[in-house]
Symmetry: C2
Subunit: 288 residues, 2 copies
């Protein structure tokens, strides 16, 4: 009731952003991940916001957090506002550097599919700069500053090629393989994120079953490929990613059977895509 403190400061933008991310993603840890900070920072921001408001936004318990009624009421408005802000920010960057195209993709795609195509793209469109950021999962395009995304699966954008898989190995290893059954006797390499690959292919190649491939799993597909090239075993290969090694003869496909994961290599863009992004998109589509 008194003549109040001189400057009623606005709510902190960082705190609002932390709250919005935590509420939208359903947890402080996920919010910290998206914002690129530690969970403790998110905790602190949300707490500061709650103190400032004099009201509780989350109900905490040991297994996570849930929005309070108040939190649920204010979340939609905040999310919209941050969507607008992200769009404006993205627009700003696009206007400032119209010839720069940011692509988000899997590390393996970046290395084995995208990277080999860049020299040609640079030759055709030297005025365009491409920047590539590797990540495990497609980003939220409403927030993250990328122009194009290139990932397996989903249903967005256009499918470039089907995801076809089949075993590949160094020629020296192939010489020891006479039949699918021989796979039981060699290390079968795989990627931890694609642990179903062997089972998928075997279901197509040897429906009667009976083979349980064993071997190391790598958290980076590039490591598994490298090992396969070095003769460490048989890798379950994704066609789009091992095509160059096959063409160069560093890897061969010992069996003719091929399977599809049911997913595709897909390319999509963040609207509104500028001319440079559209050109890169068109070119990548054609090159597939």
């Amino acid at each position: 009731m008194a003549v109040a403190p001189p400057k009623p400061k606005d709510l902190s933008l960082s705190a609002l952003r932390a709250f919005e991310a935590a509420a939208r993603l359903g947890g402080f840890a996920a919010a910290a991940e998206e914002l690129g900070v530690s969970p403790g920072a998110v905790t602190a921001h949300v707490k500061a916001l709650e103190d400032r408001l004099g009201a509780v936004l989350f109900q905490r318990d040991a297994k996570g957090v849930r929005l309070t009624a108040l939190g649920q009421r204010v979340l939609p408005g905040l999310s919209e506002a941050f969507d607008h802000l992200a769009a404006a920010s993205h627009h700003m960057q696009a206007e400032a550097a119209p010839q720069l195209v940011h692509i988000a993709t899997l590390p393996a795609i970046a290395q084995f599919w995208l990277s080999p195509r860049l020299p040609e793209l640079r030759r055709i469109a030297p005025e365009i700069s491409v920047s590539i950021t590797a990540m495990e999962a497609p980003p939220n395009l409403k927030r993250a500053p990328y122009d194009l995304c290139l990932f397996f699966g989903g249903s967005q954008g256009t499918a470039l090629t089907e995801d076809v898989i089949f075993p590949v190995c160094a020629p020296s290893v192939a010489a020891r393989l006479r039949s699918v059954a021989d796979l039981a006797d060699v290390p079968c390499l795989s990627d931890t994120a694609w642990s179903e690959d062997w089972a998928l292919w075997l279901a197509a190649a040897q429906p009667e079953g009976g083979i349980a491939p064993r071997g190391p799993a790598y958290s980076l597909y590039a490591l598994a490929v490298e090992e396969a090239v070095n003769g460490a075993g048989v890798l379950i290969g994704h066609e789009a990613l091992v095509a160059r090694h096959l063409a160069a003869g560093r890897l061969v496909a010992p069996f003719a059977e091929r399977a599809t994961t049911g997913r595709s290599l897909r390319l999509w863009s963040a609207p509104p895509a500028g001319p440079a992004a559209r050109q890169v998109m068109r070119w990548l589509t054609e090159s597939a």
Copy 2:
């Protein structure tokens, strides 16, 4: 062209806000004022943003700054986004403390008009808390977190009373005044922000002219009122602000002539006004 740095950080929210304010208000100094920081901070933020974008947003020269073409293209989107964010933030505070009403007003109005009415309001609606922030000019309601504004002039909202002015002084001083001409012999107090008041009143009271009131000007109306009560001279009084002193007999109006400044005491609200804000508004309107 290389596989780029791991984390393409978003543009800093503070930097975006500083740029937006500077661009909208047409100057770094004005932006600093609105944001409640020093001009140097705004300079630094804008510079950081320009470096980050690799493009120039403002064209600087000695008399100020002008937006570049790039700046002009990105400003509208950013301003809209920050409008949304401010609205969401305001909504959040309103939801968290629905019984709290923030009022922005002139220091003099706060002290002499609003404050005396608060006890009665508290009696009638004890569940409502009122917080008052004094400032020299009406805030930008699209951004500042106030529910109600109460200022002289403008055309927003509803007019509570006309701004009527006339000389007032302590009774002891009044005893020495027989005619308007006697004003030449006493200190004529005024507020620096309302320096035209004496001339306005004299034009009405003594159209033939010939009187040039002299006396100290105060940067705070409250100081001038205090001096007048203490018998330091004759103050050109605003009816709404000196009514209590007149009623209590601490000040008297030595002359019957009254003039109007052509402005009114006006009350308006930031949409959407909540129930508490509307109730305070209704009550203030009726009490006028």
